[in-house]
């Protein structure tokens, strides 16, 4: 070992060369990822914006129109590409599933980190990792064979709809939100808890008044991150939501999301046609939303850093 070190120490120039090489190679790897991301963004944007520039669809009509029939032109001579049903569908399932998942996720995270760390590590940690690992097609399959029939027998109708989508997404984002909340709780310094307990606070008071407050930015990030995942999830949602391009009026009637219309439609359209471009515009909306989610996460992070 010493010998090896000595040799390496003596060949200084080589080490410097290697240093340079290593740094360059790792930098190139990073750049490759960055370039790819921008390539994807530019590509989606160029396709998605074509609807507005080459097909001359009014962007306001696109965002607020209620009829999605790209094959048909309306009375004004413009194609019917109103994306409002899908946009609102995406938002409704995302928000509902986040509302449902947040208490469970945060509760579990508190349990794992504050109440029973031993059981948390032995039992819940593997459970959560497994939930992350279950493929989305399997979630969709279960949603189709269990959740949809259950909803149908309770509420009537076809069973497909926002409620089914919410349940499937709830289980899908639960592990993500939970494990990120655990990280947030873990980063709260130990002496916060000790100080609170020393002041005579009960365990719950410590958790509620001290630990949770300190971990709030981290938890918000976790929830927003979960929402971003829910917003972009495609196959599982598509299998259970019913894919009706209608404004969602109640929870058990079929609705649609951006991703579900995108996956069902893309194979039936021809590259470069209006129908295809309109779908890419939906993809662009998805992309913009994930950008916005990212911005929100950053803002929360910055605020959290300032208040510390």
């Amino acid at each position: 070992m010493n010998n090896k070190l000595q040799k390496q120490l003596l060949k200084r120039s080589k080490a410097a060369k290697l240093e340079r090489l290593g740094k360059t190679v790792s930098f190139l790897a990073l750049m490759l990822i960055t370039v790819t991301v921008f390539a994807i963004i530019i590509f989606v944007a160029s396709k998605g914006l074509a609807t507005f520039f080459s097909n001359r669809v009014n962007i306001i009509d696109f965002l607020t129109g209620k009829d999605w029939n790209p094959n048909v032109t309306n009375s004004k001579g413009q194609p019917e590409v109103g994306a409002l049903p899908m946009i609102s569908g995406s938002f409704v399932v995302t928000i509902l599933s986040a509302l449902l998942a947040t208490p469970f996720a945060i509760g579990t995270a508190i349990f794992m980190n504050e109440i029973s760390p031993h059981r948390g590590a032995k039992l819940l940690q593997p459970v959560i990792e497994l939930l992350v690992g279950i493929p989305s097609v399997v979630y969709g399959f279960i949603g189709l064979t269990v959740v949809v029939p259950a909803i149908r027998s309770i509420f009537g109708g076809s069973g497909f709809g926002i409620l089914a989508g919410t349940f499937v997404l709830f289980v899908m984002i639960l592990p993500t939100v939970t494990s990120m909340s655990v990280d947030a709780l873990r980063s709260v310094p130990r002496y916060y808890r000790e100080a609170a307990l020393a002041l005579g606070a009960t365990q719950w008071q410590t958790i509620y008044k001290v630990v949770l407050r300190a971990a709030t930015p981290g938890m918000l990030t976790a929830v927003v991150f979960g929402m971003a995942r829910a917003f972009g999830e495609a196959l599982a949602v598509q299998m259970v939501i019913g894919n009706a391009a209608l404004l969602p009026t109640n929870l058990v009637s079929p609705a649609s999301t951006l991703t579900s219309v995108l996956t069902t439609g893309i194979g039936n359209t021809v590259m470069g046609s209006l129908q295809n471009n309109a779908l890419w515009s939906l993809a662009l909306v998805l992309l913009m939303m994930s950008l916005i989610f990212n911005l929100v996460i950053r803002m929360i992070g910055r605020k959290g850093a300032m208040s510390k």
Binding site: I33, T34, I40, G107, Q203, G232, I266
Partner: protein, 294 residues
Amino acid sequence: MNSKVSNQIAIATLYVIASTIVVILAALLGYIIISGLPALSWHFLTSPAKAFTAGGGIGIQLFNSFYLLILTMIISFPIALGAGIYLNEYAKQNWLTSLVRTAIEILSSLPSVVVGLFGFLVFVVQFGFGFSILSGAFALTFFNLPLLTRSIEEALAAVPDEQREGGLALGLSKWETVLHIIVPAALPTILTGVILSAGRIFGEAAALIFTAGQSAPALNFTDWNPFNISSPLNPMRPAETLAVHIWKINSEGIMPDAKAISSGASAVLVISVLGFNLLARFVGHRLFKRLTAG
């Protein structure tokens, strides 16, 4: 007194929540495995799928899934390792780094459908790879890179700074310190991250439908020459994976035993992911023990 009661109530509630999650998972796993188990047999696991008659298996799909996973890892691991090292060891806190980080975060929140369609246009059409394992592997690389990079970066960040200082104090260059001290020290965590992301790749379908394709031509398992079209190793052949197969038979299956096949395949998929998880824990523990003891 009052605060004690509320303490009890709160903690009881937390117990209920935590056990609900365990119950959800147990129910999920139980349902998948119990409904899939009757379909499982050696024949099912090894024979090729049938287009429209009963009695098909998932042998080729299973092989494809593993092969695609290995190829994806070969492509994405070096890139992710390099990117992770640069981000954690070299990158300065400036606008460029923050831009790159944002880019990675965007990639990780990008819907996999979009990644798949991008892969379809670029690799399948533009580069002329056709529907092939290679196109699929590249698409999955996009999908895998952000998570893998992040987990490697976190693994490296978890190595205490003393180790770096120690390396530098011994006169090693920064790169040598990283390569010989930091990466080995972070290896158990890195490996866990790799295996966990392997589970995700294994189950991904949306990114593959338009890249690796939806058909699994018969393979000749005695021919291991990667340049032959029917060889299992040929990276240019189309390859339907297990997850894509489940999606396809759930939507288009016209074989009479479609339901049995899809529940059987789901069970295999979930059991594989379970296996990856167990492997990740086992390998992580083993390596950690060896490295800390030796």
